[in-house]
Symmetry: C2
Subunit: 156 residues, 2 copies
């Protein structure tokens, strides 16, 4: 097994990639006068919308790890600049579902969608077998990382 150093380098490359992805979010924040948390929230809402479900304030708080008070202030900010709208759930009127405005949707599509398009384009030269390897790699990294993210496992 002489490729220990190669595997180690892969992990470093992965961290570097994560840093660069973070920088993309940061640039989006700067361009639109938003904070780092605001972008995280918008991404969470967009992700939920992609899955077909409208996020409520509470769920958003769980997604971005914020207390309910901060979520209220957060939604206030986003609503003030016209990125989201508060919509009372008619079935359960305690709930407030968050709906993206068209401007936010297009802005997000412009920025992140453009990156996604380029990333997909960069994968054109890969064969099906290679894509399968990458898929396995991503799944393995994600599951391993999730174990650490949930809670520090007793390593002993």
């Amino acid at each position: 097994m002489p490729d220990e150093s190669e595997r180690r380098e892969l992990v470093l490359l992965l961290r570097r990639l994560s840093v660069e992805l973070d920088a993309v979010s940061q640039r989006f924040a700067e361009e639109h006068g938003l904070g780092r948390t605001d972008v995280r929230a918008l991404v969470a809402i967009m992700d939920a919308a992609r899955r077909g479900e409208a996020l409520t304030a509470g769920r958003l708080g769980e997604a971005v790890e914020l207390r309910s008070a901060s979520v209220t202030a957060l939604v206030d900010r986003l609503e003030r600049v016209g990125h989201v709208r508060r919509v009372r759930d008619p079935e359960d009127r305690r709930r407030v579902s968050l709906q993206l405005s068209d401007t936010a949707r297009t802005a997000g599509a412009e920025h992140f969608g453009g990156l996604a398009r380029d990333l997909i384009a960069a994968l054109e030269g890969y064969t099906d077998e290679e894509l399968a390897v990458v898929h396995r790699f991503l799944v393995d990294m994600t599951t391993t990382t999730m174990r650490h993210a949930r809670e520090t496992p007793p390593s002993s």
Copy 2:
């Protein structure tokens, strides 16, 4: 080219992985009573140390995208809890290089080193050819992402 959807899913998996990696940092922050920015700074300092160079306050500000005044407050916080030390550069006494304390180094190694170890272990079942594919993938994704992170390219 029937694998358009596969490539699209790979990008989604990559974003999900990025989110989970972020959650690891968040957990580290909670466990040690630090803010999100503080962790980013510590990681930047550790990365620089890994490359053999001691980060100055100014460079750290560039790395985490903060103004010099914020860097001062940031280093104040980290120094107060004993994670870094300010060291005047004897050659250029305007500069303040930041040195990690042993406690911070061990804490970081415990948390992120543990994750890195598990990630490397998860790659044991990969052949050299597969690792090469992953390497190419990571480089391609990083270069493509960096173009977007630097500045929004005129897409027209």
